[in-house]
Symmetry: C2
Subunit: 807 residues, 2 copies
């Protein structure tokens, strides 16, 4: 939890090793700050078995004669650097039943609460020092503050200091200062100063304390003399220069954050943004850092009242940053994977070469991943758009080569007139070629040429609690205007094998065949590929296409356009028209993989270099991207069998054992609560809702829908700002938080990470429900059961009523 206050400069102090003088130097900083007239707050939030640090004698020793300006506080928690078992044992040994060992989040909340309380009590120039103990390697941080690293001045201390610094950077910390004792024999500071100067970090060495004397009083006296020497009453000398530097870092941080909105408006050209709609500084979301599902955003330029008192506040990333952060922001395993690959390879060029990250990723996707049973090759490129262009090049060539054979000589087929079959509302990326695989629209540019035919897809949603299929007129034409079908359940809708013999399946088949026959007759572009987004068409408006329709579409083009005998159907063999599945793949860095069957690959295989797939990018298959992807896949495999996923599946009526099933394609479930989804679907201002997995899509009832509508933005605006419910929130530190969400016209959507805690999801549901039900004139039938919500009372009530799902 990052906190920032204008008049209160806070630094967190880490030690590069044990016995490096951390407490001594922190004491010196505290005293020096007090000596300059600042109010000083000292907090030690993590401690292992030093109970005397809390008593009056300790505080006196710590603050010296400057005690009146200093407040000290130790928050006990037994954690690292000893094992949890030992910590508990030590606690019992030393304090018996008196000591309560708080849980992770309880402790985080306590620490953040303390800092906020202290911050609120200061009105003038103040300094706060938070001394940690062995905490830099912990993956979850109670506080996320600018850092002072106490370096190691002894033998081996150069390595220890640099390693600690690197571990702090890996965890996202900003290191403002490295402070160490001036050991005249090893003189580590002589090495460290230029080393860190190159890295933009200041290193200061302070005189070491006098040798420890066994006699307590004598020792106290020499120590006090030492402090007097390094903190002279003149307030001059190196320690005061250090303080000035720390003040300067704080001032620069404040100035930088304050200036960022204007500088961004002046220099940046955002993707997908009409800059005229973002003219003012308050329109810019300033992200200072991000961790798990939460941005830490600056609020000094927004009109919203800061509920935390801090200039940095948590903001839930409601779209998982466009579905790129499948395991939340800055996941330590992914950071380490990136660092590992970068350290081992940098980038190494791929044509004709191999390296483990790319090879393992290819093997995994081809043999154990989505390519299992049909793919033979992985082609790696940079993003979804380039991955699609590669797929298009593959499909066009494969079709042309196949058709060329049929047409007795490739020359007779005009390869430029090949087209594709797709769905209305689809979106395959922003490069011009990928765009040509969709119909013309708001996203397409001057050179766009729609190179195919776009079918009207039937879609799936939940309306007033009922699972519906909406059939567009193009399909239902001829029938008696049926445009909506209610199904038994969402699970039934996705059970394709059961539905293949239904009348609707026949209707779909007839429609697709009718279209294909018409296309054939009209003699336009020759259909060379079918392009589909499986499950959901995102940019098109979070449209969930009926999977039965997609299945029938695929079966039909495979049959109708077959260029090989149907008996030739071994798993990896391509027959008929190539089908491209366009999926979004997520990790930490841009990467795309296009999987292909062997028959596609063979279309490029010849003696001529010119026949090869002459496509690539400078960083094709770069080790960092591949290694991060591998790590993401490993994490995905692990989490897919976690109890948390099991509970979400149970919530959707799946049996507990389902979590272990290998083939989960038939299990329809979501991380969103089905009761919540049901209730939202009954609201008068909601047209329909849909959810699968991490995605929740809410289409608002709007008379003028479409991409240019702002209704979703307007109606849900209320969840952007933090609300103080008087209780601890689910954000780090229990702090009130706002929600960043994305809309597509009248559709608002939310995406969780794969590891978003259920309790946080429940609190998001409460917030969404609170805002939606407040703006709805009538809450429909289901709302009768939860009148208090519909009437806009307590936001927390739905949360309480759904406790059964939160174990």
């Amino acid at each position: 939890m990052a906190l920032l206050y204008k008049h209160l400069r806070i630094h967190q102090i880490f030690g590069a090793n044990t016995d490096v003088g951390k407490t001594l130097l922190t004491t010196a900083l505290v005293r020096a700050s007090a000596s300059t007239g600042s109010q000083v707050f000292y907090l030690k939030p993590v401690s292992t078995g030093s109970p005397e640090e809390a008593d009056d004698e300790f505080i006196k020793r710590f603050t010296g004669h400057l005690g009146s300006r200093v407040k000290t506080e130790c928050l006990y928690r037994f954690n690292e650097p000893v094992s949890p078992a030992l910590a508990a044992r030590l606690a019992q040994d030393q304090h018996g039943a008196k000591v309560h060992i708080p849980a992770d989040d309880e402790f985080v909340n306590a620490v953040v609460g303390h800092v906020r309380k202290r911050a609120a009590s200061y009105s003038q120039q103040s300094h706060m020092y938070v001394e940690t103990a062995g905490g830099e390697i912990s993956d979850s941080q109670p506080l996320f503050l600018p850092t002072i690293l106490v370096g190691d001045s002894r033998l081996g201390g150069i390595s220890a200091t640099i390693s600690s610094y690197e571990s702090l950077l890996l965890r996202g910390y900003i290191v403002d200062l490295i402070l160490l004792l001036r050991d005249e024999y090893y003189r580590n500071w002589e090495y460290l100063q230029p080393y860190f100067a190159e890295r933009g970090v200041r290193v200061d060495a302070l005189d070491p304390p006098p040798p420890k004397i066994p006699d307590f009083d004598a020792n106290h006296k020499t120590t006090e003399e030492y402090y007097k020497k390094i903190i002279p009453s003149s307030n001059e000398g190196s320690l005061f220069s250090v303080l000035a530097h720390l003040d300067d870092c704080h001032a620069k941080r404040l100035a930088e954050l304050e200036s960022m909105p204007r500088r961004t408006l002046d220099n940046v050209w955002w993707p997908f943004v009409q800059h005229r709609h973002f003219k003012e500084e308050k329109d810019v979301n300033v992200i200072d850092s991000a961790s798990s599902d939460v941005f830490s955003v600056y609020n000094g330029h927004t009109s919203s009242l800061s509920l935390t008192g801090s200039l940095l506040e948590p903001q839930f990333d409601g779209s998982a940053s466009w579905w790129t952060q499948s395991f939340g922001h800055a996941h330590p395993s992914l950071t380490l994977a990136a660092a590992r690959a970068s350290g081992r390879y940098g980038h190494v060029m791929f044509p004709g070469a191999t390296h483990l990250p790319a090879l393992k990723l290819s093997e995994r996707l081809v043999n154990d991943g989505p390519g299992k049973g049909w793919a033979s090759r992985a082609f790696i490129s940079d993003d979804g758009s380039t991955g699609m262009e590669v797929a298009l090049k593959m499909a066009l060539r494969a079709f042309a080569v196949g058709e060329g054979g049929l047409h007795d000589g490739a020359e007779r087929l005009n390869r430029k007139d090949l087209g594709i079959l797709g769905l209305k509302g689809s979106y395959h990326g922003d490069t011009i070629g990928a765009m040509d695989a969709t119909e013309e629209g708001i996203y397409t540019c001057e050179w766009h040429e729609s190179k195919g035919y776009w079918l009207d897809p039937p879609t799936i949603s939940i309306r007033k609690g009922r699972s519906m299929i909406s059939i567009p007129p193009a399909i239902s034409a001829g029938k008696e205007g049926v445009s909506e079908i209610q199904t038994e359940s969402l699970a039934w809708t996705y059970d394709i094998s059961k539905r293949l013999q239904t009348p609707l399946a026949k209707q779909y088949r007839d429609y697709v065949k009718r279209v294909l026959q018409t296309l054939d007759k009209n003699g336009g572009r020759k259909i060379a590929a079918l392009v589909l987004e499986p499950i959901v068409m995102g940019a098109g408006g979070m449209i969930f296409v009926d999977p039965l329709f997609q299945r029938i579409l695929i079966d039909t083009v495979r049959g109708t356009f077959s260029t090989k005998s149907s008996s030739d159907s071994s798993p990896g063999e391509w027959s008929g028209v190539p089908v491209i599945f366009d999926e979004v793949f997520a990790g930490l860095v841009p990467l795309a993989v296009t999987l292909a069957s062997d028959s596609i690959f063979k279309a490029f295989y010849s003696d001529k270099k010119a026949d090869a797939l002459l496509h690539g990018h400078s960083y094709s298959a770069y080790p960092i991207g591949c290694e991060v992807a591998n790590e993401t896949l490993s994490m995905l495999e692990k989490i897919s069998r976690s109890p948390e996923w099991g509970k979400a599946k149970e919530m959707w009526g799946n049996k507990p054992t389902d979590a272990c099933k290998r083939n989960e394609s038939e299990v329809v479930w979501s991380f969103w609560d089905p009761e919540f989804v049901n209730k939202v679907s009954h609201l008068e201002n909601v047209a329909e809702v849909m959810t699968l997995g991490t995605v929740l899509s809410i289409k608002l009832a709007d008379n003028s829908p479409g991409y240019q509508s702002h209704s979703a933005q307007t109606v849900l605006q209320g969840i952007r700002t933090a609300i103080d419910t008087g209780e601890l929130s689910q954000a780090p530190g229990g702090v009130p938080f706002g929600i960043n969400f994305r809309t597509l016209g009248n559709v608002a959507y939310f995406m969780l990470s794969l590891n978003t805690p259920a309790a946080l999801t429940r609190s998001l549901e409460d917030r969404i429900w609170g805002v939606l039900s407040n703006t709805s004139h009538s809450a429909g039938p289901a709302a009768e059961n939860t009148k208090e919500d519909a009437l806009g009372g307590s936001l927390l009530k739905p949360h309480l009523s759904r406790q059964t799902h939160q174990h």
Copy 2:
């Protein structure tokens, strides 16, 4: 320097801290290996002031009764963990004049030499342990071997162990094992075992030694008893399980490397590769790691005889991996930049938001970089191809909006019929839209439609030592067949201001105007943009276009097609036809930036969202890419004023002071030696040569040139394999190395990094010269001066004859 031997398993041992028992545990490993019957080699390459370790008593103590199977050796070098000044002082104090402190590379060569010597002496199953001292934080590694990390078992040791592990990963090491003492109080291993199990690293704890006794003999006795206990004659127990694990790691590494070529051939689809030409395992370049300019490649599957005896050997990356590694592979500053941004943000979505890495990159490029004086905005995308598509969308829209005004209503201009003006041989990326901005050719796909007109560019090269401009017939037509002009010098050729009034300038102007008039008359696509690759057209065959021609082209289209009055020419204002400069930008990860002037930006600025540049990718402006780019720019700024660059500029006749000039656009220079370039240009089998900066391009005399020619591959094949000159090479460890280079038909090109050491460049020149002059029938006039080279004798002679440039 990575080394790998089949029957010799080598591990490098790092300590997580001082006094963690590194020597004790290494001794235990050495003795246990000896106990299993293996021959054992122990090497301690870095040591600070422990001279007794080299004496007989030390060795005896170290090896115990198993001495006959163990060879120990200490290589002294005074380095970290104390400062260099202290190291020198200590050396003098302890050894007086006896001690020689070797230079960096001298020491690296010595260590590698020792390991190779020992490796050569073993024929059966053997183990080698290399104990380092405080070395894991060093950025240049004498050895790069699989690693054992000795963990810290004390208070604070969990952090110290994890930090050290992370620092090793950041430097590319593979950690096979973490070994620590079993401290029953802190029990760190209890925490570390599951922690590292998740990261795939085994942790073992060994019983601690007995307490140290002051009496030497008594201490020796208890220590020997300790070793006997942990290394029982039964060869059973945890230490032997550790050995089995290490053997297993070694065996797996061998098996993995051996299997990689086949697995790659079976699963990977390479960019730009005709797989039929890469059918055999030996065709696959297996890259195990990379550092600075050198790959470490596996040679177990190639027929080439390994000169190192090692299964891993250095290979110079002759294209800087397609010019992506501007500071060499795995530069620690770039790795740390990537780790830092990943740890602080992961990825955060960019539209409407800001974060420091993207903001700073944008500001820097717009205000201080290539955009200075004209650009107002930076649009960030994923790679060169997407960056070009963004530029095309900008230019087409800007032109359409401008023309729309002229044509009294945008509707009257058919926006789909806009075209561009470019050069033959240009290449702007592989996405279909970027491809449409070039003529049809080998790289284009089925959907390609050449949307413009392509001018014949005059080109620059060095032929037989003369600086030449080649004028294509399209330009010289009408004149008396002049197709080549010799210029005063390369420097003169690039001095455009001087050349603007020459007859050739007029010829260029006439040609461009003639083409534009014809295009206008013929009524094809309306030219909406000029697209150029400044300086060199890479993929087209490393074609250096005459900069005068590009300048005149720009001036002409700006004037001819001006949509605004010419008085309206403030620096940031766009007038005439938009010009797109397509450059390659390099760092560590894929990233592209498209800079635009304010008038381009304004073409998208309106009240309508639909008018915005609706382009973006999931990871647009991802913090990792931006942070790495920022770091690269900082490094570039620093190195551009380095003495090394100054020397290269001097070599090309620039005055020493030129290195500090702010405006360097007029300074023509290269990292390649002008004498070498001159001599190569005289070879009979060389048509022409060209060099600028890091690039060296050699076009071979070939009767059937073009992309499908293999002449460059064939002629230069000899430099691929390592050659043992009997002297130390410039590769790490002084080991013989091969050169990986790229060709475009009859053009071979080489690219250095910006920080390739001059001595390494000289040795590359020697290798290239050796092969080229050997295959050339006559070496031309210049060769007379260096007969010994032309006759194919010593490869090192040119090196010696050019010593003046090597200070």
